[in-house]
Protein backbone atom coordinates (compact mmCIF):
# COMPACT_ATOMS: atom_id res chain seq x y z
CA UNK A 1 0.00 0.00 0.00
CA UNK A 2 2.86 2.35 -0.67
CA UNK A 3 3.82 2.71 2.96
CA UNK A 4 6.90 4.82 3.27
CA UNK A 5 9.88 4.16 5.42
CA UNK A 6 11.28 6.57 7.95
CA UNK A 7 9.74 8.20 10.98
CA UNK A 8 6.42 6.70 10.09
CA UNK A 9 7.79 3.29 10.87
CA UNK A 10 6.79 3.80 14.49
CA UNK A 11 3.24 4.59 13.49
CA UNK A 12 2.62 1.18 12.02
CA UNK A 13 2.52 -0.28 15.52
CA UNK A 14 -0.18 2.06 16.75
CA UNK A 15 -3.86 1.19 16.93
CA UNK A 16 -6.36 3.08 14.83
CA UNK A 17 -7.63 4.73 18.02
CA UNK A 18 -4.16 5.96 18.88
CA UNK A 19 -3.70 7.31 15.38
CA UNK A 20 -6.98 9.20 15.55
CA UNK A 21 -5.93 10.67 18.89
CA UNK A 22 -2.70 11.85 17.27
CA UNK A 23 -4.61 13.22 14.28
CA UNK A 24 -6.76 15.21 16.67
CA UNK A 25 -3.51 16.81 17.80
CA UNK A 26 -2.67 17.78 14.25
CA UNK A 27 -0.17 14.98 13.67
CA UNK A 28 -0.06 14.65 9.92
CA UNK A 29 2.12 11.56 9.98
CA UNK A 30 -0.65 9.81 11.88
CA UNK A 31 -3.07 10.84 9.17
CA UNK A 32 -0.69 9.48 6.55
CA UNK A 33 -0.65 6.16 8.36
CA UNK A 34 -4.46 6.09 8.48
CA UNK A 35 -4.48 6.80 4.77
CA UNK A 36 -2.12 3.90 4.21
CA UNK A 37 -4.46 1.64 6.17
CA UNK A 38 -7.76 2.81 4.75
CA UNK A 39 -7.01 4.67 1.52
CA UNK A 40 -7.39 1.64 -0.65
CA UNK A 41 -10.67 0.43 0.75
CA UNK A 42 -11.92 4.02 0.79
CA UNK A 43 -11.06 4.42 -2.86
CA UNK A 44 -12.62 1.09 -3.77
CA UNK A 45 -15.83 2.02 -2.00
CA UNK A 46 -15.97 5.48 -3.53
CA UNK A 47 -15.29 4.03 -6.96
CA UNK A 48 -18.03 1.47 -6.58
CA UNK A 49 -20.52 4.15 -5.59
CA UNK A 50 -19.41 6.84 -8.03
CA UNK A 51 -18.02 4.79 -10.92
CA UNK A 52 -15.78 7.58 -11.93
CA UNK A 53 -12.16 7.72 -10.97
CA UNK A 54 -11.91 11.49 -10.69
CA UNK A 55 -15.03 11.72 -8.52
CA UNK A 56 -13.86 8.81 -6.39
CA UNK A 57 -10.55 10.56 -5.80
CA UNK A 58 -12.41 13.72 -4.80
CA UNK A 59 -14.58 11.77 -2.36
CA UNK A 60 -11.54 10.14 -0.75
CA UNK A 61 -9.71 13.43 -0.51
CA UNK A 62 -12.68 15.17 1.09
CA UNK A 63 -13.23 12.27 3.43
CA UNK A 64 -9.66 12.28 4.72
CA UNK A 65 -9.80 16.03 5.12
CA UNK A 66 -12.98 15.51 7.13
CA UNK A 67 -11.17 12.94 9.26
CA UNK A 68 -8.34 15.38 9.77
CA UNK A 69 -10.65 18.17 10.83
CA UNK A 70 -12.91 16.22 13.11
CA UNK A 71 -10.81 13.47 14.62
CA UNK A 72 -11.45 15.23 17.89
CA UNK A 73 -15.15 14.48 17.62
CA UNK A 74 -14.31 10.79 17.36
CA UNK A 75 -12.75 10.79 20.79
CA UNK A 76 -15.30 9.75 23.34
CA UNK A 77 -17.44 8.00 20.73
CA UNK A 78 -18.37 4.42 21.20
CA UNK A 79 -17.78 3.75 17.53
CA UNK A 80 -15.02 1.61 16.11
CA UNK A 81 -12.45 3.72 14.28
CA UNK A 82 -12.84 1.72 11.07
CA UNK A 83 -16.59 2.26 11.16
CA UNK A 84 -16.16 5.94 11.80
CA UNK A 85 -13.70 6.33 8.95
CA UNK A 86 -15.64 4.26 6.45
CA UNK A 87 -18.88 6.01 7.35
CA UNK A 88 -17.29 9.33 6.51
CA UNK A 89 -16.03 7.98 3.19
CA UNK A 90 -19.42 6.48 2.40
CA UNK A 91 -21.19 9.70 3.26
CA UNK A 92 -18.93 11.78 1.02
CA UNK A 93 -19.35 9.40 -1.89
CA UNK A 94 -23.13 9.22 -1.48
CA UNK A 95 -23.33 12.99 -1.23
CA UNK A 96 -21.43 13.25 -4.47
CA UNK A 97 -23.47 10.63 -6.27
CA UNK A 98 -26.68 12.35 -5.23
CA UNK A 99 -25.37 15.75 -6.17
CA UNK A 100 -24.04 14.59 -9.50
CA UNK A 101 -27.31 12.84 -10.21
CA UNK A 102 -25.22 9.97 -11.45
CA UNK A 103 -27.54 7.15 -11.94
CA UNK A 104 -26.92 4.11 -10.01
CA UNK A 105 -28.23 1.39 -12.19
CA UNK A 106 -26.47 -1.89 -11.61
CA UNK A 107 -24.21 -1.30 -8.67
CA UNK A 108 -22.93 -4.85 -8.67
CA UNK A 109 -20.77 -5.23 -11.74
CA UNK A 110 -19.22 -1.88 -12.29
CA UNK A 111 -15.79 -2.48 -10.93
CA UNK A 112 -14.88 -5.89 -12.12
CA UNK A 113 -13.61 -8.19 -9.43
CA UNK A 114 -10.79 -10.24 -10.87
CA UNK A 115 -11.10 -13.88 -9.95
CA UNK A 116 -9.30 -14.36 -6.67
CA UNK A 117 -8.50 -10.67 -6.40
CA UNK A 118 -5.65 -8.69 -7.83
CA UNK A 119 -2.13 -9.83 -7.21
CA UNK A 120 -1.26 -6.66 -5.32
CA UNK A 121 -4.30 -6.76 -3.09
CA UNK A 122 -3.47 -7.49 0.50
CA UNK A 123 -4.55 -10.87 1.73
CA UNK A 124 -6.35 -9.32 4.69
CA UNK A 125 -8.56 -7.24 2.43
CA UNK A 126 -9.34 -10.27 0.30
CA UNK A 127 -10.27 -12.28 3.37
CA UNK A 128 -12.58 -9.62 4.64
CA UNK A 129 -14.23 -9.27 1.27
CA UNK A 130 -14.87 -12.99 1.15
CA UNK A 131 -16.34 -12.95 4.63
CA UNK A 132 -18.75 -10.18 3.70
CA UNK A 133 -19.68 -11.87 0.44
CA UNK A 134 -20.35 -15.11 2.23
CA UNK A 135 -22.58 -13.34 4.74
CA UNK A 136 -24.45 -11.50 2.01
CA UNK A 137 -25.09 -14.76 0.19
CA UNK A 138 -26.92 -16.06 3.24
CA UNK A 139 -29.41 -13.22 3.23
CA UNK A 140 -32.77 -13.56 1.50
CA UNK A 141 -32.54 -12.02 -1.97
CA UNK A 142 -34.88 -9.12 -1.24
CA UNK A 143 -32.96 -8.12 1.89
CA UNK A 144 -29.61 -8.33 0.15
CA UNK A 145 -30.94 -6.27 -2.73
CA UNK A 146 -32.21 -3.55 -0.40
CA UNK A 147 -28.89 -3.33 1.44
CA UNK A 148 -26.80 -3.28 -1.71
CA UNK A 149 -28.87 -0.67 -3.50
CA UNK A 150 -28.86 1.55 -0.44
CA UNK A 151 -25.20 1.19 0.43
CA UNK A 152 -23.55 1.00 -2.98
CA UNK A 153 -26.22 2.78 -4.98
CA UNK A 154 -26.87 5.64 -2.60
CA UNK A 155 -30.62 5.19 -2.90
CA UNK A 156 -32.83 6.34 -0.07
CA UNK A 157 -35.55 4.07 1.24
CA UNK A 158 -38.20 6.16 -0.52
CA UNK A 159 -36.33 5.93 -3.81
CA UNK A 160 -36.00 2.20 -3.38
CA UNK A 161 -39.70 1.77 -2.67
CA UNK A 162 -40.48 3.50 -5.93
CA UNK A 163 -37.80 1.72 -7.89
CA UNK A 164 -38.76 -1.71 -6.63
CA UNK A 165 -42.51 -1.03 -6.67
CA UNK A 166 -42.87 -1.92 -3.00
CA UNK A 167 -44.53 -0.11 -0.11
CA UNK A 168 -42.10 2.04 1.86
CA UNK A 169 -42.86 0.07 5.02
CA UNK A 170 -41.76 -3.12 3.29
CA UNK A 171 -38.44 -1.59 2.29
CA UNK A 172 -37.82 -0.31 5.80
CA UNK A 173 -38.52 -3.72 7.28
CA UNK A 174 -36.33 -5.49 4.72
CA UNK A 175 -33.45 -3.19 5.35
CA UNK A 176 -33.78 -3.53 9.10
CA UNK A 177 -34.04 -7.30 9.02
CA UNK A 178 -31.23 -7.55 6.47
CA UNK A 179 -28.77 -5.34 8.29
CA UNK A 180 -29.42 -7.07 11.62
CA UNK A 181 -28.95 -10.45 10.03
CA UNK A 182 -25.78 -9.30 8.31
CA UNK A 183 -24.46 -8.05 11.64
CA UNK A 184 -25.15 -11.40 13.29
CA UNK A 185 -23.64 -13.40 10.42
CA UNK A 186 -20.50 -11.29 10.46
CA UNK A 187 -20.20 -11.72 14.21
CA UNK A 188 -20.47 -15.49 13.76
CA UNK A 189 -17.76 -15.35 11.12
CA UNK A 190 -15.44 -13.42 13.47
CA UNK A 191 -15.38 -10.38 11.25
CA UNK A 192 -14.72 -8.02 14.14
CA UNK A 193 -10.96 -8.41 14.18
CA UNK A 194 -9.14 -5.26 13.06
CA UNK A 195 -8.04 -5.17 9.44
CA UNK A 196 -4.40 -5.32 10.37
CA UNK A 197 -4.78 -8.53 12.34
CA UNK A 198 -6.87 -10.64 10.03
Amino acid sequence: MGREQGTRGEMTHLSDEALLALVSRSDDEALAELYDRYGRIAYGLALRILRDRALAEDAVQEAFLGIWRSAESFLGERAKPSTWILTIVHRRAVDLVRREERRRGEPLDVVADPAGGAADEEASLRQRRRAVQAALRQLPDDQREALELAYYGGFTQSELAERLGQPLGTIKSRMFAGLRRLRDLLADAGFDAPVTEL
Binding site: G39, G44, Q61, S70, T87, R91, G169, F176, R180
Partner: protein, 232 residues
Amino acid sequence: MTNDLHELTAGYALDALEEDERRAFEEHLASCAVCEGELPSLHDAAAALAHDVYAPAPPAELRDRVLRQVHRERTNVVRLRPRWQWPVAGVAAVAAGAAIGFGIWAFSESSSLDRERAARRADAKALAIVAAPGSIRFPLYGATGALVVARSGQAALVVSGLRPAPEGKTYEVWVVRGGPPQPAGIFPGGSGRLVVALKRVVPHGARVAVSIEKAGGSEKLTGSMLFGAQTA
Protein backbone atom coordinates in the same frame (compact mmCIF):
# COMPACT_ATOMS: atom_id res chain seq x y z
CA MET B 1 -44.81 4.37 16.16
CA THR B 2 -41.80 3.57 18.28
CA ASN B 3 -41.38 0.31 16.42
CA ASP B 4 -41.50 2.16 13.10
CA LEU B 5 -38.87 4.55 14.31
CA HIS B 6 -36.73 1.75 15.63
CA GLU B 7 -36.70 0.15 12.19
CA LEU B 8 -35.19 3.37 10.89
CA THR B 9 -31.94 2.59 12.72
CA ALA B 10 -30.98 0.49 9.68
CA GLY B 11 -31.83 3.17 7.14
CA TYR B 12 -29.97 5.65 9.30
CA ALA B 13 -26.89 3.46 9.57
CA LEU B 14 -26.93 3.02 5.78
CA ASP B 15 -27.49 6.73 5.18
CA ALA B 16 -30.67 5.90 3.30
CA LEU B 17 -33.20 8.15 5.01
CA GLU B 18 -34.82 11.18 3.50
CA GLU B 19 -33.90 14.42 5.20
CA ASP B 20 -37.12 14.84 7.21
CA GLU B 21 -37.00 11.26 8.43
CA ARG B 22 -33.39 11.56 9.38
CA ARG B 23 -34.16 14.56 11.55
CA ALA B 24 -37.12 12.83 13.14
CA PHE B 25 -34.96 9.81 13.84
CA GLU B 26 -32.18 11.88 15.38
CA GLU B 27 -34.68 13.47 17.73
CA HIS B 28 -36.00 10.05 18.61
CA LEU B 29 -32.47 8.72 19.09
CA ALA B 30 -31.71 11.25 21.80
CA SER B 31 -34.42 9.81 24.01
CA CYS B 32 -34.49 6.12 23.02
CA ALA B 33 -32.01 3.88 24.75
CA VAL B 34 -33.02 0.92 22.57
CA CYS B 35 -32.15 2.65 19.31
CA GLU B 36 -29.06 4.22 20.77
CA GLY B 37 -27.97 0.82 21.98
CA GLU B 38 -28.45 -0.91 18.68
CA LEU B 39 -27.14 1.77 16.36
CA PRO B 40 -23.39 1.15 16.83
CA SER B 41 -23.59 -2.50 15.81
CA LEU B 42 -25.70 -1.62 12.77
CA HIS B 43 -23.21 1.07 11.83
CA ASP B 44 -20.47 -1.57 12.06
CA ALA B 45 -22.46 -3.93 9.84
CA ALA B 46 -23.08 -1.18 7.29
CA ALA B 47 -19.39 -0.25 7.26
CA ALA B 48 -18.49 -3.91 6.76
CA LEU B 49 -20.17 -3.65 3.37
CA ALA B 50 -17.28 -1.43 2.34
CA HIS B 51 -15.21 -4.58 2.30
CA ASP B 52 -17.29 -6.23 -0.38
CA VAL B 53 -15.55 -4.13 -2.92
CA TYR B 54 -12.65 -5.10 -5.06
CA ALA B 55 -10.33 -2.31 -4.13
CA PRO B 56 -7.90 -1.27 -6.85
CA ALA B 57 -4.98 0.71 -5.55
CA PRO B 58 -5.73 4.42 -5.66
CA PRO B 59 -3.32 6.47 -7.75
CA ALA B 60 -0.19 7.32 -5.79
CA GLU B 61 -0.70 11.04 -6.37
CA LEU B 62 -3.97 10.89 -4.40
CA ARG B 63 -1.98 10.22 -1.26
CA ASP B 64 0.19 13.20 -2.02
CA ARG B 65 -2.84 15.39 -2.68
CA VAL B 66 -4.46 14.44 0.62
CA LEU B 67 -1.30 14.98 2.61
CA ARG B 68 -0.47 18.25 0.89
CA GLN B 69 -3.89 19.61 1.69
CA VAL B 70 -3.64 18.48 5.29
CA HIS B 71 -0.22 20.01 5.58
CA ARG B 72 -1.55 23.32 4.31
CA GLU B 73 -4.24 23.30 6.97
CA ARG B 74 -1.74 22.32 9.57
CA THR B 75 0.44 25.30 8.89
CA ASN B 76 -2.45 27.74 8.53
CA VAL B 77 -4.53 26.85 11.51
CA VAL B 78 -3.60 26.66 15.14
CA ARG B 79 -5.58 24.01 16.89
CA LEU B 80 -7.04 24.67 20.30
CA ARG B 81 -6.48 22.35 23.16
CA PRO B 82 -6.77 21.14 25.74
CA ARG B 83 -8.89 23.85 27.30
CA TRP B 84 -11.35 23.64 24.41
CA GLN B 85 -12.17 20.04 24.79
CA TRP B 86 -15.67 19.06 25.66
CA PRO B 87 -16.76 19.83 29.19
CA VAL B 88 -17.45 16.51 30.80
CA ALA B 89 -20.45 17.47 32.88
CA GLY B 90 -23.25 19.91 33.14
CA VAL B 91 -26.14 21.15 31.11
CA ALA B 92 -23.96 22.36 28.29
CA ALA B 93 -22.35 19.00 27.74
CA VAL B 94 -25.69 17.28 27.65
CA ALA B 95 -27.15 19.78 25.24
CA ALA B 96 -24.27 20.05 22.85
CA GLY B 97 -22.33 16.84 23.40
CA ALA B 98 -25.27 14.62 22.70
CA ALA B 99 -26.05 16.43 19.49
CA ILE B 100 -22.62 16.27 17.96
CA GLY B 101 -22.28 12.55 18.22
CA PHE B 102 -21.16 9.99 15.76
CA GLY B 103 -24.35 9.52 13.84
CA ILE B 104 -24.99 13.14 13.33
CA TRP B 105 -21.41 13.87 12.50
CA ALA B 106 -21.65 11.48 9.63
CA PHE B 107 -24.22 13.73 8.05
CA SER B 108 -22.54 16.99 8.78
CA GLU B 109 -21.39 17.65 5.25
CA SER B 110 -24.92 18.05 4.21
CA SER B 111 -26.55 17.56 0.86
CA SER B 112 -27.20 20.33 -1.60
CA LEU B 113 -30.85 20.21 -0.57
CA ASP B 114 -29.74 20.91 2.96
CA ARG B 115 -27.77 23.85 1.81
CA GLU B 116 -30.75 25.30 0.00
CA ARG B 117 -32.85 25.01 3.11
CA ALA B 118 -30.12 26.57 5.17
CA ALA B 119 -29.81 29.35 2.67
CA ARG B 120 -33.45 30.18 3.03
CA ARG B 121 -33.11 30.27 6.78
CA ALA B 122 -29.95 32.28 6.98
CA ASP B 123 -30.06 36.00 6.77
CA ALA B 124 -28.66 37.84 3.82
CA LYS B 125 -25.79 39.36 5.73
CA ALA B 126 -24.44 36.04 6.88
CA LEU B 127 -24.67 34.61 3.40
CA ALA B 128 -22.93 37.63 1.92
CA ILE B 129 -20.04 37.04 4.31
CA VAL B 130 -19.86 33.38 3.46
CA ALA B 131 -19.96 34.09 -0.26
CA ALA B 132 -17.63 37.11 -0.32
CA PRO B 133 -14.52 36.65 -2.43
CA GLY B 134 -11.49 36.36 -0.22
CA SER B 135 -13.42 35.13 2.81
CA ILE B 136 -11.43 32.64 4.84
CA ARG B 137 -12.91 29.54 6.47
CA PHE B 138 -11.59 28.27 9.76
CA PRO B 139 -12.84 24.84 10.81
CA LEU B 140 -14.64 24.68 14.14
CA TYR B 141 -13.34 22.68 17.04
CA GLY B 142 -15.89 20.89 19.16
CA ALA B 143 -18.61 21.15 16.55
CA THR B 144 -19.02 20.60 12.85
CA GLY B 145 -18.78 23.67 10.72
CA ALA B 146 -16.64 26.69 10.11
CA LEU B 147 -16.08 30.28 11.03
CA VAL B 148 -16.02 32.38 7.88
CA VAL B 149 -14.26 35.73 8.09
CA ALA B 150 -14.52 38.27 5.30
CA ARG B 151 -11.65 40.63 4.50
CA SER B 152 -13.57 43.36 6.31
CA GLY B 153 -13.44 41.29 9.51
CA GLN B 154 -17.16 40.66 9.39
CA ALA B 155 -17.75 37.04 10.22
CA ALA B 156 -20.35 34.31 10.14
CA LEU B 157 -20.54 31.03 11.94
CA VAL B 158 -21.68 27.99 9.95
CA VAL B 159 -22.54 25.11 12.22
CA SER B 160 -24.39 21.81 11.78
CA GLY B 161 -26.06 19.31 14.01
CA LEU B 162 -26.54 21.54 17.00
CA ARG B 163 -29.44 20.81 19.30
CA PRO B 164 -31.75 23.65 20.25
CA ALA B 165 -30.50 25.43 23.37
CA PRO B 166 -32.15 24.14 26.57
CA GLU B 167 -35.30 25.80 27.87
CA GLY B 168 -34.53 29.29 29.13
CA LYS B 169 -31.06 29.28 27.52
CA THR B 170 -29.45 30.45 24.33
CA TYR B 171 -26.21 29.92 22.44
CA GLU B 172 -24.02 32.98 22.57
CA VAL B 173 -21.02 33.80 20.39
CA TRP B 174 -17.90 35.44 21.82
CA VAL B 175 -14.94 37.12 20.22
CA VAL B 176 -11.76 36.82 22.26
CA ARG B 177 -8.62 38.78 21.68
CA GLY B 178 -6.44 39.57 24.61
CA GLY B 179 -9.04 40.86 27.05
CA PRO B 180 -12.31 39.40 28.27
CA PRO B 181 -14.57 37.70 25.71
CA GLN B 182 -16.82 40.17 23.92
CA PRO B 183 -20.43 39.14 23.17
CA ALA B 184 -21.10 38.83 19.43
CA GLY B 185 -24.68 37.62 19.15
CA ILE B 186 -27.02 34.86 20.23
CA PHE B 187 -28.79 32.10 18.36
CA PRO B 188 -31.18 29.33 19.33
CA GLY B 189 -29.50 26.30 17.75
CA GLY B 190 -31.70 23.73 16.08
CA SER B 191 -31.31 20.96 13.56
CA GLY B 192 -29.70 21.28 10.18
CA ARG B 193 -27.09 23.78 9.20
CA LEU B 194 -27.19 27.24 10.73
CA VAL B 195 -25.53 30.33 9.39
CA VAL B 196 -25.15 33.04 12.01
CA ALA B 197 -23.75 36.50 11.32
CA LEU B 198 -21.60 37.82 14.15
CA LYS B 199 -22.47 41.24 15.56
CA ARG B 200 -18.83 42.10 16.05
CA VAL B 201 -15.87 42.02 13.70
CA VAL B 202 -13.26 39.31 14.17
CA PRO B 203 -9.76 40.77 14.05
CA HIS B 204 -6.87 38.75 12.70
CA GLY B 205 -5.63 36.33 15.32
CA ALA B 206 -8.80 36.47 17.41
CA ARG B 207 -10.63 33.47 18.72
CA VAL B 208 -14.35 32.90 18.40
CA ALA B 209 -16.16 30.72 20.90
CA VAL B 210 -19.72 29.70 21.67
CA SER B 211 -21.21 29.06 25.08
CA ILE B 212 -24.68 28.52 26.47
CA GLU B 213 -26.05 31.47 28.42
CA LYS B 214 -29.36 32.53 29.90
CA ALA B 215 -32.08 33.42 27.42
CA GLY B 216 -31.52 36.82 25.86
CA GLY B 217 -27.77 36.49 26.17
CA SER B 218 -25.22 37.73 28.66
CA GLU B 219 -22.74 40.58 28.59
CA LYS B 220 -20.15 38.41 30.33
CA LEU B 221 -19.18 34.85 29.57
CA THR B 222 -20.56 32.58 32.29
CA GLY B 223 -20.90 29.20 30.57
CA SER B 224 -18.19 26.87 29.28
CA MET B 225 -16.89 27.49 25.80
CA LEU B 226 -18.40 24.62 23.87
CA PHE B 227 -16.85 25.05 20.51
CA GLY B 228 -15.14 27.65 18.45
CA ALA B 229 -12.39 28.53 16.04
CA GLN B 230 -9.03 30.21 16.09
CA THR B 231 -8.26 32.59 13.27
CA ALA B 232 -4.70 32.33 12.07
